[in-house]
């Protein structure tokens, strides 16, 4: 069981998710956020927070997004922890619309 961020986060980075994480498992990359699977307890609090539904549990992860399990594990650990909400990227609202939300 694992919880992960996928590519919908790229160029949005609304960061609503980090405020609900009870264990500070989110790490901030320049392009998007990642979840450290060693820290995450799979509580699911972040999933409904994401305005572009970028966060999945592996139990309902679409096949085409499976590569993101490894990407989260690899990248999260090299990046700083993020616990406070930051401003979304410029154009995030437009991208949200493009993504259908």
């Amino acid at each position: 069981m694992t919880t992960l961020v996928t590519d919908n986060c790229q160029r949005c980075r609304f960061t609503e998710c980090v405020t609900a994480c009870p264990v500070s498992a989110f790490h901030a990359g320049e392009d998007m956020l990642f979840i450290n699977p060693d820290v995450c307890v799979d509580c699911g609090a972040c999933i409904p927070k994401c305005p572009v539904q970028a966060i999945y549990e592996d139990l309902d992860l679409p096949d085409e997004l499976e590569e993101w399990i490894d990407i989260n594990e690899r990248r999260a650990k090299k990046l700083p922890i993020i616990t406070k909400k930051e401003s979304a990227y410029e154009g995030a609202e437009d991208r949200k619309k493009t993504l259908g939300f």
Partner: protein
Amino acid sequence: MTASLKTKTQLKVAIIGSGPSGFYVADAIINSGISVEITLLEKLPCPYGLIRYGVAPDHQKLKRIANTLDTIAEHPSVTFLGNVELGKNINLEEIKSNYQVIVFCNGMSDSISLGIDGEDLAGVYPCNDLIGWYNGHPDYQDLEFNFDHDTAVVIGHGNVAIDISRILSKSIDDLRASDIPENALEILSKKTLKHVHMIGRRGPIQSKFTTKELHELGKLSNCNVSLDPKHLNLNAACQQELDDTSNIIVHKNYKVMQSYAGNFSAVNDKNKTQISIDFMLNPKYFTGRKQLSSAFFEETYLEGAPFNQTCKSLDHPIEIPCGLAFTSVGYRGAILENLPVNEPKRTLTNQNSNLIGGDGEIVKGLYAAGWVKRGPHGVIGTNRECAQNTVDSILKDTPTLLQTIAEGKAGLLKILNKKNIRYTTFEDWKVIDKKEVDNGLSLGKPREKFVTIKEMLACL
């Protein structure tokens, strides 16, 4: 900094309750960077609240949140004092006289009753009784349970109902790997349940499950989970609720429910426990001679606009013969020190987390966070956000609050010592914790909990 200057610039904060909300309030204050001294007061000798006593005993990964709470407790600005109960061995005035800020994070520990006939029969319990008992909570150890029945009904469609249904259905060998204490395991090992009904008044779209918990039920090797496919034929309003893109959890749950609907007409494997998820049934009354023998329901239907549908009863009584019933329809808070509450949930009356007194005015220095502020909703992480909002309010008031001088922990300890109260520190908890983990080792369990306060204090 001299002692007197420190007294004038350092905010003294007492937090009532050391569940996740209490810890997250402490964390948010520390992270704000202000000079602060925080005392976490807890009525039990041990910390963590619902992480230890509410999170299901077979969800050990979720209980790892305690590791995060530990790092907060060990911050030099934070002192944990256990076995100190507001309204019992200390009163609000005694705390107020030593702290500029008091934050109520004491949660909600009472189950809401259904208010129907027969709830007093043997075999009918509020969910809290069972959860407190199998989690080893000292307040629930005198309860007696008998699981030698064919059928149990669990009333409620949230994660608490799922937890109870799962514990009732799981094989005893699987339960032995959890941290259910030995005394409870012994009684659970005699369970003969063949059928567990999880019953909700409304439909699949209105259920409050999270997907992981719902999905987990279907993975239990000794269980068959099913629901009547007719409930997945939605009325127009429910269909709109399902199609709303912000309703992601409902959408995911619906998919899991579709797979359970496929099990509905499958031939039952007699060796498996049947878990039925029943919708649109309103509990009416329980019957039995001293001991519960049947639960009666009325069929319901939904009426109204999407997201605002109300539940109406049809005149179709349904009987489910059962020997056990657990009601999981929500929680409410306790009345504490005459603080004004909002009925029926008994949240503390507040404005932006600031408590409101009986005169309708803001009470300076008193705040709330967690369930007792916003009601019994959300998952553990929700409390982190909630705590941050409370701390934002505190920080706004801090310059004013600092105009009052407060002694903080030193002053409170004087009172506790004078009253001869055996409080526990975080170091004490670590001793208890280690003993529990050691005792669990030989049993192949994550820990063997001490289930009485006396036992906890005895190992110190």
